[in-house]
Amino acid sequence: MHKTGNHLSDWIARSTALLPLFIFTYAATLVMPVMSDGPVRLGLPWVPGLDISLTFSIDGLSLLFMLIISAVGFFVTLYSVNYLHGYHHTGRFFLFLHAFMLSMLGLVTADNMMALFVFWELTTIFSYLLIGFEHEAETSRHSARQALLVTGAGGLALLAAFLLLQIITGTADISGLTGWDGQLRSHPLYEAIFVLIAIGAFTKSAQFPFHFWLPHAMAAPTPISAFLHSATMVKGGIYLLARFHPILGGTPAWTATLMITGALTAVGAAVLAMGQSDLKKILAYTTLTALGIMTMFLGGASTPSLTAAMTFLLVHSLYKSGLFLMAGIVDHQTGTRQLENLGGLCTRMPFTACSSVAACLSMAGFPLFFGFIGKEIMYKGALAETMCPQLAVSAAVLANALMTAVAGILVVRVFWGRPRPEHAAVKEASVFMWCGPVVLGGIGIVFGIIPEWVGHWLVAPAVRAFHVSSEHIKLELFHGINMPLLLSLLTITMGACFFLFHRSLYRLLKGTVKHLPITSGRVYNGIIVGVARLGYLQIRLLQNGSLHRYLFIVLATFLTVVGYTWLRWTDVFPAWELPALSIREWLLIALITASVITVLATRTLLLAICALGVIGTGLAIVFLSYGAPDVALTQLLVETLTVVIVSVILLRLPALKRSEHPKRIKRLMDAILAGGVGVLVTSLLLAVLAVNPSHSLTAFFEQNSYLAAHGKNIVNVILVDFRSLDTMGEIIVVATAGLAGFALIKQQRRKHK
């Protein structure tokens, strides 16, 4: 290893952290103007013909996301430089990381729905590239593809929803939709739009039954899990639900779907988290819980409920990204992420331990930590739900209690307990790695002490961006002794109980998933296997490598489709009358007919090719005698060249055997198909002649060919001037076909060697 070179490239990589830092500063300066003057808007046309513009609108909701994305992005960049020592392609990693960050920023600021969709898909693609970053490992590739397919499918549903919205309202801007809100909720297509939007949000934010991709996405390097799969990308669905809340939200369908799905995901994932022993898997399942809680609260329409969702969004981003970074540090320094191999690291890694304790206390919702504020407002929101507050309260309490237990497990099992002898030489990680968790954990404490400030500057503007209400939005440290406080106490007590029995719970839950009769992960695998089987079947049926089969299918399709269309949709039929022909023309017909018979009858391929050439030449003479010298010339040349090339091929190949006794039925089918296509094409051509064609184009070309295009040969002027775009397309096809043919020939040769 070149020490100096390494240092230089490290510093170059670190300097890219200036980008998120700059964006963070920019976003921070916008907080005040957005609060006083409303959204900051900027826009430039992109595809004006399709009414797609890159319009950005930064309001409180976008700002909250921007601040989270850029802050976590900054620390993750610093962290990754040290984390990735020993990896290949680190340059690529930083490219993907920052490209993802920019797409995510675009996603949360775009005002045009099509632009939002494009950014949405971009985050999916960069997530795919980053999950599969260690692409030599089979599991990485598998997980990456799974995340891509699930979130990509959701993206397509989202596109359909956006198109429906655009068709109904005639505008592609989200800001233009707000005036329509009442009408949209009672529109007959409301259910369709809502279902599509929900699929988009649920796949991205990993809600049941699309949750399974997120734990698998842990195959990504840990900083990526911290950034994409806990703090930012998976919150894209939450952002979408919040953004469309004023337009589509508040209906019974919306509330019921979001609350039930969210509650199910939150509790289910929290239970499953107890059955994990891999640090990252535990964190992934608790991330699912957090996303479920946010979805559940976005289902409500009351101010406390929506405030709870936004507050918890901030709470979760702060502690979870810190914890993921901690898991990465532990993995990086000790080489393991399994709980049973860890313990007693607090003296070896003091900074990591401190920051993890802070993050875990926030996660557990202890007073003086920001998580406490988040939990209080959550219970307040749950109690204020209009539909089934009992469900919301019990789901929130249960999920929070389990998260408290998980927080305890993380702190105690990793940092307390008996130090492992094999970790005697373990040292604290570099400052670039622990600074992120320390700062994020520190912010969790500061925000927990001054919640009014956070509520005023960050949470309230975010909520007001998608929820109009006269109610005052306020975060407070102490509300007095009331229901939320009692629920908080209950949560901590229950959490402590779960923690005390966590080993038995672990043993109980470890094998449960395997024994479930059906899981969505297995359904997904079934679909993938099914698609592969279908593809295999299709290939065996249609693309079995036999040229005869290909030609048969192509011609049969042509015959049925064109024949059907013609008979069904037109009433033009050919006039079957034979014009008077001269001796010369009769001779030509006789020549062509004789050649056709030769092609069919001969057993020698070379003779067949030459006879085909004669047919082509005969046709060229027909063109010539009817006044189309250009077409005749080209036809003649093409025929000549074809005979030459085909002869070259035939001379190279071993003597081709014509199958000695082809099945009679098969030959009969071929004959019928060939005859059918011949009759169809002939009668089509005659039918076209029966209609008197319009001569306006001919007149235009005749007039303009020489005057405008300086050419007397109209055919050529059409080719290179009037219709040159067509020619452009054709030459691209020629070039592509040539290169593809070249590749095929080369490949064949390599096979023989």
């Binding site: 040969n713 055919v715 070249f742």
Partner: protein
């Protein structure tokens, strides 16, 4: 075994056919011909040469990889189209200049000519790529 008669006549014919192919290309604007036909003729010439002397001789005579002909042709066609775009008119608009040679001899020269040369190079490059690859396989 190579036929001596074929080789001797090829030597004469190839140059003639190539000249004819360029002639076809240039006269195309006023009379039957053009880039496509010209390229087919040139392709025939090289195919003949390849049959008589072998693919290696054709490569030596060409000095260029035929694939680079495809690329050059594509770039030329694209450039002739972009010229229209740069001058503020739609892509592929034909632009014309009149060159005055001597006293009263004028030639109209336009981007369609370069487009046609592009077509010529692409078609020729494709034919040569395939023929040479086949000859060598």
């Amino acid at each position: 075994m190579r036929s001596l008669i074929l080789r001797a006549s090829t030597r004469l014919l190839v140059s003639l056919i190539l000249v004819f192919s360029v002639y076809l290309l240039i006269r195309g604007h006023h009379a039957p011909g053009g880039g496509f036909s010209g390229a087919l003729v040139a392709g025939t010439a090289f195919a003949l040469y390849a049959i008589a002397e072998g693919a290696a001789s054709v490569r030596r005579a060409l000095r260029l990889d035929p694939r680079s002909l495809i690329v050059t042709g594509m770039l030329l066609a694209l450039a002739s189209g972009l010229t229209g775009l740069v001058s503020g008119r739609p892509f592929l608009t034909g632009l014309w200049w009149t060159l005055t040679l001597g006293q009263d001899y004028k030639i109209a020269l336009g981007t369609p000519l370069f487009f046609d040369i592009g077509v010529y190079l692409i078609v020729l490059g494709t034919i040569l790529t395939l023929i040479l690859a086949l000859e060598e396989s």
